[in-house]
């Protein structure tokens, strides 16, 4: 046994090691480095090259699970001042978000969510079929209605994680790309993170932000649950006349779409294929057959729209569709932040800030109880209350 105090007691700031350079890891690195902590971030590939960098880019609070809303709203406050924080606005646009109900039965969840959203101060309202047709005459006739939330929108996913990482580096963080981690171990004083290439990083605090691969790293304890990988598929058309102002989604989640400022329509739906080793994904055949047809049904007058690119990325899903955020009771100083189940992009910056607050002060103003890492051990998985 060591007879000296753990180094963390003597230091003014804890040493941080973040594993995973997606949006969550990069944002956490930024907030912690900006607060003066010595931060090392280890990324297997390049910063933001997995789900964080290739997702739909939706920045949405609308229709979220009530448990996620406070975190989502905290995150939104960061989104709107990214330029000031990290020196780049990441192409954020906020034309609002529209959730469409195809049939009457799909109106019920929208109606149920509305008071929840309003309680959290969101400017959301229901639109009748008639209002929809008046406001968005290019939508297919016969929709039951929709819910609209002002202030939501989209950003350029390719810039966000690299933007945070770059700002973190400027604040003094050490960002190492191409550095896979093989193990996280409990050391004599703090944690030991072992990169595959050899050596070790000793830290008081370790944040596991490795998304779909959160449980592939060898750890001295069992993980609460393993994220199930999925590879949502995206498509983009060549530039089209501008008309789709808000970001659109269906209650069913079968398709979501937006129009870029250059006019390209970006839409997602269906799932691609994941390679046998679990590290790469590619677009699948079925979504190519089905998803463009759904879009044509939703917006019949698309003209000669041509798809110019399709892509996928791998994200990790939990049984209840909610992320795992926090420390397990017997693993003091090891934080988990993963399993965002397809809606982590918008929350990423907020999660980074929460983690920074938890590390520095032991608490955060956001109730994270819905994301408790131990919840899967206690109860059978609940079903999520969010609408895709």
């Amino acid at each position: 046994m060591s007879n000296v105090y753990p180094i963390s007691v003597l230091r003014s700031k804890p040493r941080i090691c973040i594993v995973g350079g997606g949006i969550v890891g990069s944002a956490a690195a930024f907030f912690l480095a900006a607060a003066g902590c010595p931060v090392t971030l280890l990324e297997r590939d390049t910063i933001g090259s997995k789900a964080s960098g290739v997702n739909f880019g939706g920045v949405r609070r609308h229709a979220r699970h009530p448990g996620e809303l406070p975190l989502s709203i905290k995150s939104h406050r960061i989104w709107v001042k990214l330029e000031e924080l990290i020196g780049h606005d990441c192409d954020l646009e906020t034309p609002g978000h529209l959730k469409l109900a195809l049939g009457e039965e799909e109106m019920a969840p929208l109606e149920a969510w509305l008071p929840v959203g309003r309680e959290h101060g969101l400017d959301a309202r229901l639109l009748s079929a008639r209002e929809l047709a008046e406001l968005y005459p290019w939508l297919a006739p016969g929709l039951a209605g929709a819910s609209y939330c002002a202030g939501d929108g989209f950003a350029n996913p390719r810039l966000v994680a690299p933007g945070f990482a770059r700002a973190a580096r400027e604040a003094g963080a050490l960002i190492r790309e191409g550095c896979p981690v093989s193990a996280i171990e409990k050391g004599l004083c703090g944690w030991v993170v072992r990169p595959e290439e050899g050596g070790e990083v000793v830290a008081d605090i370790v944040i596991n932000a490795t998304g779909a691969w959160a449980t592939t790293i060898r750890m001295d304890f069992s993980a609460p649950v393993s994220p199930a990988p999925a590879a949502p598929q995206m498509f983009v058309t060549e530039p089209m006349p501008m008309r789709i102002m808000p970001v659109l989604g269906l209650v069913s989640g079968d398709i979501y779409l937006r129009q870029s400022v250059r006019g390209n329509i970006i839409f997602g739906g269906g799932r691609g294929k994941i390679s046998a080793d679990g590290w790469r994904s590619s677009p699948g055949e079925t979504p190519f057959r089905e998803v463009p047809a759904i879009m044509r049904r939703l917006i019949p007058d698309l003209g000669q729209a041509l798809i110019i690119r399709s892509w996928t990325g791998i994200e990790g899903h939990t049984p209840d569709g909610l992320p795992v955020i926090g420390a397990c009771p017997d693993q003091d100083g090891l934080f988990q932040a993963w399993g965002f189940s397809g809606h982590g992009f918008q929350m990423g910056p907020g999660v980074g800030q929460c983690l920074s607050e938890l590390v520095l002060t032991g608490k955060t103003d956001i109730d994270l109880s819905a994301f408790d890492p131990t919840r899967f051990a206690h109860a059978a998985a609940r079903t999520g209350g969010g609408i895709h």
Partner: protein, 472 residues
Amino acid sequence: MAHTETRPLCVAIVGAGPAGLRAASTLVKAGLRPILINEAPEPGGQIYRRPPKALLLFRSAKDLYGADSHRASALDSAFDDMKERIDYRPSTSVWNATRRNDGRVRLHLCDASGEVDTLDCDKVVLATGAMDRIVPLPGWTEPGVWSLGGAQVMLKAQAQFVGRNPVFAGSGPLLYLVAWQYMKAGATPAAVIDASTFSAKLRAVPAMLARSAVAFRGLRMAVALRRRGILVLEGCHAERIDTTPTGFLVSWAGEQGSGDISGDAVAIGHGLKPEQQLAELLGCRLHFDPGAGQWLVETDRDGRASVPGVYLAGDMAMIRGAHAAETAGELSALAVLADAGLAPAYDGVRRIRLRRSMKRQDLFRKGLEAAFPFPSNRIENLPDETTVCRCEGVTAGDLRKAVAHWQPADVNRLKAMTRCGMGRCQSRLCGETAAALLAAGSGRDRSEVGFVRSQIPVKPLPIPARERETQR
């Protein structure tokens, strides 16, 4: 590996230019019924592109294809002879290629009406050809500025001029060929601005003697252009293109001083670039070829790629021209047959002759590369305001700024940060320029910054106009 199953060997050929047609006729001769997929409505590829039938009345094969007319006619009749014995799919593009677990290749097709379909085959010969290689310059995106290949297609397929007094600029054999073809057809080119120097061409003479007749023909075209009084500026670059009320003003500079030339159209190009996306999607290895200054798909001398069952032929493997493409097409088909245990009796002797011919073509190619070196330094010195990616409106300055700001590890990262190459052409036109700017801006070699990875669909795919019937 012998083909032992009872099912006949299924071979698909993508592309019906000289390489694809020759591969098909070789397989037909061996008793197979290959599937020939052609993006264009008529066979012949870009080089022997057929005009719509009505226009043929006005222009003979000799007029259209010049000294190569006998080759064009021979391929034409080869196609007519085998038409009934192949599964021919005209007006069909291949927008994706994947490898199935059983080792077969799946091609994803899209026909003229936008219907998609898949096709599984045992072996695939990729003969997808090449496209213009463009070095941007200020003004190159103005309407009325064409690629050399585009200007040639206008003449060959539509019997139209891009202008009556066009300025031709760039380098490579196509530069003189197109200018000469325009002259022969009755236009008066304003000038030919050739980036390569006389001394470079002189140094390349020994290698070019491997095909002295072709080299001589090129020389004759240059002489004919000069004799007609057309300004030929060797060792000079087009520096910028400005629009004027009557057309364009092209500023040039180089060994012969500097100046401005006006014309009513401009056509630019610096050689050709292989269309290798399908090979890349199938996982074939690429390597950087310093001579060509390009990434090329690796093959053995008969056209086998690094992935079993995938064969390459023609310009998509390496830019060697139409004659070599025919040779390569036949060689790749013989490789297909040999690998399937179906090698015909004549195979051995024939293959030796073809390989010997390829060697000569290769020597000639090296001569051309020396005579018309790719002007990488032009890209490095592009003015900041030059548009590089016309689809997304990304300039050389934007790219330089992004290189400094993000320090991208490779050109794909640079693409992600700037959107350069995310438009309709999928980096075909701008990927090389972006890579050269990244290499220059980070003190690396082109071979160290990679190539822009292909993404599907490699050809734009229409969103179906009506709902498809749901199968299965």
